[in-house]
């Protein structure tokens, strides 16, 4: 059976060119960059070369690029490292983030809130998943030290106005970190254009290896390490460098960024076609996220009256790999916090289905999915005692809004 992998936001494969670039550093050039011999020197040269390549690609200084063990680790370093550095300098204890962040950001913030005396503002989003810039500016207080907002959402694909947010942060002299893990493949990660102080990227979303992350830290940004040891990465991230991984990451990022405009155009076409056809072929579905301001490779729809995991299991039988924000596919018992944050009822979040495209995705594959999915939906709706229509959901959303308004007034 042919496999149709449409879960590239979960992770990508490693491009053959990237794998090839990594190859020498497993067995032949295995040295430790910290060693005083030629083997170590070769490793250090590979590391320097990779760092220079990344700096060129994101348009930063070379000494502003730090390598870590994952996107999650970079985010933890950015959020906790900046928070602790600022606190030690007596600079304030307030952080602004949003309700649709990845768990790495959300749980880092929650931990600082619970255990280290920080105050966190979780900004709401509108029905498309966009934060309101006025609300952001209003949330800034004298003790605000950091704003951390994701560039593009991993679940619903909504793209925030990063450059605008950076301007607001600068105006109020607040540091700004963006989690750009989902952006590296299709959007510009030029830090000068974006105006960010910190930016997280990782290998496993850009056809690079897993287990490699990067944090851009603008010169002069107060930050302290969260991992201590041999003082690698200028003391900010100890641990023997993963040379093969770092070389692969640098190569992967360079390829993605060079091809991104062309690739974005191609994927936007496919995305819009796929969404249009889904709505044509399946009644009572909703688009989660923004219709235009969204990642070119992201499609997220909620199929009413059925549960996401059941759809995934059926699709899997056709070799189609997608993902869902239903409670049953997560580790806790609640459905996707991102889909819920856009203001839809729980039952809609349980039926959410995400398809994320990649470099191998083509129209033929999508046609196959468009053929396979409607009968699956029909079958599961047949099994379901729940019979919801879009009208029911609209009514439910209105009811929730009225309730929220009355609570505010009260």
């Amino acid at each position: 059976m042919k496999e149709i992998y449409l879960d590239f936001a979960a992770t990508t494969f490693v491009r053959p060119e990237v794998k090839e670039a990594m190859e020498p550093y497993f067995t032949r050039e295995f040295g430790n960059p910290g060693s005083m011999h030629s083997s170590g020197l070769h490793a250090k040269q590979a590391l320097d070369y990779a760092r220079e390549k990344v700096a060129k690609t994101i348009n930063s200084r070379i000494d502003e690029v730090y390598f870590t063990g994952s996107g999650t680790e970079s985010i933890n370093l950015a959020v906790k490292g900046v928070a602790r550095a600022c606190k030690r300098a007596g600079k304030g204890n307030h952080i602004i983030t949003s309700r649709i962040e990845h768990h790495a950001v959300m749980d880092s913030c929650k931990d600082l809130e619970k255990n280290e005396g920080f105050r966190i503002t979780y900004l709401p989003v509108d029905k498309f998943g966009l934060i309101n810039l006025e609300e952001l500016e209003k949330a800034i207080a004298p003790e605000t030290i950091l704003i951390t907002l994701m560039y593009a959402n991993n679940e619903i694909g909504t793209i925030q106005q990063i450059a605008e947010i950076a301007k607001i942060a600068k105006k109020h002299n607040v540091l700004f970190h963006t989690d750009a893990c989902q952006a590296g493949y299709e959007l510009s990660v030029n830090v000068q254009e974006l105006g960010v102080d910190l930016m997280t990227l990782n290998g496993s979303k850009i056809y690079g290896p897993k287990g490699v992350g990067m944090l851009f830290v603008k010169k002069g940004t107060p930050i302290v390490p969260i991992i201590h040891g041999g003082g690698q990465e200028g003391g900010l991230r100890s641990g023997t460098e993963n040379i093969a991984g770092i070389v692969g990451f640098a190569k992967a990022l360079e390829i993605c960024q060079n091809a991104r405009e062309k690739e974005a155009k191609r994927l936007t076409k496919l995305r819009d076609y796929f969404i249009k056809e889904l709505f044509k072929r399946i009644p009572d579905i909703m688009l989660n996220g923004h219709p235009v301001q969204r990642l070119p490779n992201n499609v997220n729809v909620s199929i009413l009256s059925i549960e996401g995991e059941a759809v995934l299991l059926k699709l899997n039988e056709f070799g189609i790999y997608a993902s869902s924000g239903s409670a049953c596919t997560s580790h806790d018992l609640e459905p996707s916090h991102v889909v819920l944050a856009t203001g839809v009822p729980f039952e809609v979040a349980h039926g959410s289905l995400r398809f994320t495209f990649g470099i191998t995705t083509n129209k033929k594959q999508l046609e196959f999915v468009l053929k396979a999915l409607p009968p699956i939906v029909k079958e599961l709706r047949n099994l379901s005692p729940v019979k919801l229509t879009l009208k029911d959901i609209e009514r439910e959303i209105e009811k929730q809004k009225a309730l929220a308004a009355s609570v505010k007034v009260g």
């Binding site: 059925i306 995991e309 059941a310 299991l313």
Partner: protein
């Protein structure tokens, strides 16, 4: 049924290995070693070929049943509806049809329940009332820990349907309050369910919630659940 026996024979052949494997579970509590699908072969079978589900919900289609029960809510991610036909003479369940909104294991466990109560000429209602989520789990060949809550609604929907049969047939004295108290009003989870969870080793509210799904939607019941956990731990394990 034949299938299930085959599997148990296989596991008998290498019993030592199987029990040993339990100690080598990954930190997330899920092990996929030796599996070719996400769930047991029985779960897979019932998910892809669900038995006894009801398609004809027209009035005439429903006429043949003399009891129905509905449990859960779409907001929680699980809804189960059962229709039963009880033979008033023998008190045996002749038919058990269902519809389920939920994930793969929820669909499979409802299907399995419908088979359990109707096989071998049908189960007597008194027996059917005693079915526990654990009975269903056993027949399914188990579920991953974080999926166990999916199977806990079936027995409740069945009891609701049998109570409805008692009501419809005028046997009001048999409608069971069962000495059980409904704690979670949205999912119909009783104090007995919580007791079972504690007996199976759940110690904290979070662990009980993972097993039963209690309090996910009916947040108001959380304090009462905490008290019950405390009570049952003292009762069964003499611990605080």
């Amino acid at each position: 049924m034949g299938k299930k026996k085959k599997i148990s024979k296989k596991s008998k052949a290498k019993p030592a290995k199987k029990s040993k494997a339990l100690h080598f579970q990954s930190p997330d509590g899920i092990t996929t070693l030796g599996q070719d699908w996400f769930y047991s072969p029985t779960v897979k079978e019932h998910f892809f070929k669900p038995r006894n589900f009801l398609t004809n919900t027209s009035k005439t289609g429903l006429k043949q049943f003399n009891g129905t029960g509905l449990i859960g809510s779409a907001a929680c991610g699980d809804v189960m509806r059962l229709w039963i036909k009880v033979d008033p003479q023998t008190e045996k369940l002749k038919e058990c049809k269902w519809q389920t909104f939920g994930c793969g294991s929820a669909i499979a466990s409802t299907s399995m329940l419908s088979v359990m109560v109707t096989e071998n000429g049908g189960m007597k209602v008194e027996e059917a009332l005693k079915i526990t989520p654990q009975d269903i789990l056993k027949r399914l060949g188990g579920l991953p820990a974080r999926k166990i809550h999916c199977s806990v609604l079936g027995d409740k929907a069945l009891r609701a349907a049998i109570n409805d049969y008692f009501r419809q047939s005028g046997q009001l004295e048999r409608v069971r309050g069962e000495g059980k108290k409904v704690i979670d009003k949205v999912l119909g989870i009783t104090d007995e369910d919580i007791e079972h969870a504690v007996l199976e080793g759940a110690k904290t509210f979070e662990e009980v919630q993972h097993k039963t799904k209690v309090g996910v939607h009916d947040k108001a019941c959380v304090p009462e659940v905490m008290q019950l956990i405390h009570y049952y731990r003292r009762k069964h394990f003499n611990e605080d």
